[in-house]
């Protein structure tokens, strides 16, 4: 093991909360390391449907979460403008929903400070012609769509710009205690197996659904209840607004436009292990059935991919399950709670409230360190690290194509081949992302590029871009043939996982074609 590196603060977990905590600490002048066992957003943050909540969803049953959501919603729009698409949101009472609930809901929203505006069904259909015309009521709310890959890229870059360290694919395998105090951690490089030690005056455990396992390393009992939610990406961007069913939160009642697709979610299933992200047939069926209630014809179009994320539900001393459990968060000061200083766990909450969670956790950590600098993340606009060519602003469906077209029409630049045709990722995009990747020989490199570029996220699910990107990877010279093949196999397998639950109709044909390409032509084996 190398000599330990020393930091003021160590943050465990490269999700939104961890990224937010690392930036918060760095902005308060602390030397910080952020560690993540896989890629940034690999846990729950990268497996949500992309909804920046207005809070409306929780107003009736969980007003505290609702208030947090609307306040943070306003802040995030200000500090992460490049990652947020201001789609607005609608709460719609379909014929399957009790129209009377809407009045209860409006009153609850008012009490939480969430603006709602009722519109006629005619106005609703004008704005969103795909919605069920038999709907009875519709309300506008300030929901938005938010890309967590963009958010984490920006947070990590900001942390690094402030002198911090970001280590992905480094798993915490042990916490070090000295005199009843957590003083650092041992990390294992997931690819090489090498271990290294990091010393830090304080450690923030932002491991989300895995927070219990981290806390246990310091002997602190934290019972996170992992709760799985399944989502399905459909081939059409059915709507340009986020659509919520106006009823008590249930399964499959949120539809989010994301790029060229729409994502419907979710289910709520308690799972024993946060690593369980497989989807079940009934969950897919439920999504399609519920989607049909919102959008007639929904289930007849192609479902591209299914996946699941695991919510880190937590209530100190509580026992509520699933949808009954509050979506608020808890900051656990283990020095007071368990007599273990130097460790703060932050758990529960929502993507929307990540910044607030980070702020509260860092407040506690700073109190332990005697640092009195105030939090600055409410005002700090996180710089956009993706060049305009990678993510145009403001977001709208056609811009990506318009940009590729513009580049192609410009005769001064050499032709820039499309590598991922579904998501319009060019050769230059891939080359740039490869050169920015910290560890290109890792077998998961293509999946990391996917999060950077949306490579392989369209209808063919990597059937054609996978081998092209692999070719570029190899051509650039840092990856040998065996490593390139391993990367391709890894990518194909991961893409297959999300297609597997949706093997009917055209997606089945697509899967068989992809399989023939990878196993038949290229001879890849599982």
């Amino acid at each position: 093991m190398n000599n330990p590196q020393t930091y003021d603060a160590l943050v465990i977990g490269g999700g939104a909360t961890g990224g937010g905590a690392a930036l918060d600490l760095a902005l308060r002048g602390l030397h910080v390391a952020l560690v993540e066992r896989a890629d940034l957003t690999d846990g729950t943050s990268g497996r949500y449907h992309g909804l920046l909540h207005s809070g409306g969803r929780y107003a009736v049953r969980d007003p505290e979460s609702a208030r947090e959501c609307i306040e943070e919603n306003r802040i995030l729009r200000r500090i992460l403008p490049h990652a947020i698409e201001d789609t607005g949101g609608l709460f719609v009472a379909t014929p399957d929903d009790d129209p009377a609930y809407a009045d209860t809901w409006v009153a609850a929203c008012r009490a939480c400070g969430i603006e709602t505006e009722e519109i006629s069904i005619g106005q609703m259909l004008k704005a969103e012609p795909a919605l069920n015309p038999a709907s009875t009521r519709a309300f506008r709310v300030p929901d938005a769509s938010c890309d967590s890959f963009d958010v984490l890229s920006a947070l990590a870059a900001a942390v690094q710009a402030l002198g911090g360290t970001v280590l992905t694919y480094h798993e915490v395998v042990g916490l070090h205690l000295a005199d009843g105090r957590v003083v650092g951690a041992t990390l294992r490089n997931r690819r090489t197996g090498e271990e290294q030690r990091i010393d830090a005056a304080v450690t923030i455990n932002a491991a989300g659904a895995w927070a219990g396992q981290i806390a246990a390393m310091a002997g602190c009992p934290v019972t996170v209840r992992p709760n799985k939610g399944t989502m399905v990406a459909m081939a059409y961007r059915f709507v340009n607004t986020i659509i919520n069913r106006c009823h008590l939160p249930g399964d499959g009642d949120i539809l989010v436009p994301v790029g060229t697709v729409a994502v419907i979610g979710t289910t709520s299933v308690n799972v024993p292990d946060p690593n369980v992200t497989s989807t079940e047939a009934w969950e897919i069926e439920r999504m399609l059935d519920e989607g049909e209630k919102l959008v007639p014809g929904f289930s007849q179009v192609r479902a591209l991919r299914a996946w699941a994320g695991v919510r880190p539900l937590y209530e100190e001393g509580g026992s509520a399950q699933g949808r009954e459990a509050k979506r608020t968060f808890a900051v656990l000061d283990h020095s007071q709670r368990d007599g273990v200083a130097g460790l703060v766990t932050v758990v529960g909450g929502k993507f929307t409230t990540y910044r607030l969670m980070a702020e509260r956790a860092v407040d506690v950590a700073c109190a332990q360190l005697g640092v009195t600098t105030a939090c600055q993340t409410q005002e700090f606009v996180v710089p956009d690290v993706r060049t305009p060519s990678e993510r145009p602003k403001p977001h709208h469906l056609g811009l990506r194509l318009a940009e590729v077209e513009e580049a192609a029409a410009d005769r001064r630049t050499p032709p820039n081949a499309l590598i991922c045709e579904c998501e319009l990722v060019t050769r230059k995009d891939v080359e740039r992302a490869v050169s920015a990747h910290p560890d290109v020989v890792a077998p998961w490199v293509l999946d990391d590029l996917r999060r950077d570029l949306r490579l392989g996220m369209g209808p063919c699910q990597g059937g054609f871009c996978g081998y092209r990107a692999t070719g570029i990877l190899h051509e650039l010279g840092q990856v040998d043939a065996g490593q390139a093949t391993a990367a391709l196999a890894d990518f194909a397998q991961r893409r297959w996982k999300g297609m597997q639950p949706l093997l009917w109709g055209q997606n089945l044909r697509q899967a068989l074609l992809d399989e023939q390409i990878y196993r038949g032509i290229l001879g890849l084996e599982k």
Partner: protein, 424 residues
């Protein structure tokens, strides 16, 4: 793509069926000739995912799709690639009209859409029109101002029209119609009316020789030139007017035969699939429309086609089946019919496209592309050593004639000759 429940019935929805297999990319005749066109998959099902009628049209390269429809023919998954492209071109034109209404190319595209009116007006002063059309400096001016390539094959204009012949001289001179003769309505289209009477006369002769009473419904342009130049509103006006004129015939169960393969396709499927006209009239007309060769071959299969052909004494004629004829999905009835003629050998050249695709090859910026697409066909025809070829589509015929130097005729002209009923 903005989704509506109606979209499930719309051809644009077929973009969803694409599995990216690239079969269309491989088959596209335009793609290998230019870097300006990224291929049918790219501008079709792929780009369709990024189009939203409420937002600006994102792409320009679409303009280089020639609309030949080879992509639609070869797609094994049912993606209506050419139809998707045509619909997107219309959106693009609407936007360009708004943004750059003075762009001469837009004017040119508009003019091309009015080819029926061109035939009418040009015909009034036919000698002058023909002079100007063949006068180099005038053509250069048209190229510089409107972008109509000076080398593109323009037809000859005529004072005298096909309908004038049919209702005048022909009615006076033809043999009396036998009582109880089956009726057939003939949609001749603009080209026969204004430029190529001989095709119409041959069709009438062949039908009458087979005992039909040929009816000539009142008619107007089918709207295809407007449709392919992105003017859907104009195309729909033409379409609905024509449907009103043809529906009474179709309603009586009178078959409607068409000589031009593109006009026929328009009536059979484009009205519904591309222009979205789902009226009862559109349906009953589509059910009664036949390509002339298709109609005669069905007649033959029913044992009712006369086969009193004269022996052609070992004549050989190469044939180019137009792209739009292939899109009828009726096999190759023209080749089948010609195969009945003793002493005549016909050979399908097996080249996808001659390049012109309606008005595409007339456009200056696309002329070279179109010529490159057609080059293998022109070469093959020239190498055949004969001086006559067959093609059933008007602009293809003119293009092949001009580019290969062969005389190019319609199947029915050869058939009429073989029956011994051709005039002069």
């Amino acid at each position: 793509m903005t989704y509506t429940p109606e979209l499930l019935e719309d051809i644009r929805r077929t973009a969803d069926l694409c599995v990216k297999c690239n079969i269309c990319t491989t088959a596209c005749p335009v793609l290998p000739t230019t870097n300006l066109f990224p291929g049918p998959k790219y501008v079709g099902p792929q780009a369709q995912r990024f189009r939203d009628p409420t937002q600006p049209s994102p792409d320009h390269s679409l303009d280089y799709c020639s609309g030949c429809g080879v992509c639609t023919q070869v797609c094994p998954h049912g993606v209506k690639v050419m139809e998707i492209n045509t619909a997107a071109k219309a959106e693009m034109r609407t936007e360009r009209l708004r943004k750059t209404p003075l762009d001469p190319k837009l004017w040119r595209d508009t003019i091309f859409g009015y080819n029926e009116a061109l035939g009418q007006v040009g015909g009034l002063v036919a000698p002058l029109t023909n002079f100007l059309m063949n006068f180099g400096p005038a053509r250069m001016i048209a190229e510089k101002t409107l972008g109509i390539d000076h080398r593109a094959p323009l037809p000859r204009f005529h004072f005298r029209k096909f309908r004038g012949w049919f209702f005048g001289q022909h009615q006076r001179e033809k043999a009396p119609t036998p009582p109880g003769a089956p009726k057939v309505a003939y949609f001749h289209g603009c080209a026969t009316e204004h430029y190529e009477q001989s095709v119409g006369r041959a069709i009438v002769a062949v039908l009458e020789h087979n005992g039909f009473e040929v009816l000539l419904p009142e008619q107007n342009c089918c709207g295809l030139p407007m449709q392919s130049n992105g003017n859907f509103a104009g195309a729909r006006r033409y379409a609905n007017a024509l449907l009103r004129k043809l529906a009474p015939y179709a309603g009586q169960g009178i078959p409607i035969v068409v000589g031009g393969t593109s006009c026929g396709l328009e009536l059979k499927s484009d009205y519904r699939e591309i222009l979205g006209i789902h009226t009862a009239e559109a349906r009953i007309v589509a059910e009664q429309v036949y390509d002339i060769s298709e109609f005669l071959w069905l007649l033959h299969e029913g044992g009712r086609l006369k086969t009193d052909f004269r022996d052609q004494g070992g004549r050989y004629i190469p044939v180019h089946t137009s792209c739009h004829q292939k899109l009828h999905r009726i096999g190759r009835p023209a080749l089948d019919l010609l195969g009945l003629v003793p002493g005549l050998t016909v050979e399908e050249m097996g080249i996808d496209c001659c390049g012109i695709t309606g008005t595409y090859g007339y456009k200056h910026e696309k002329y070279d592309i179109a010529q490159q697409v057609g080059q293998p066909l022109f070469d093959k025809l020239r190498a055949s050593g004969v001086d006559q070829a067959i093609c059933d589509n008007e602009t293809c015929r003119w293009n092949i004639a001009r580019s290969s130097g062969l005389q190019v005729v319609h199947t029915m002209q050869v058939l009429a000759e073989a029956y011994g009923v051709a005039e002069g």
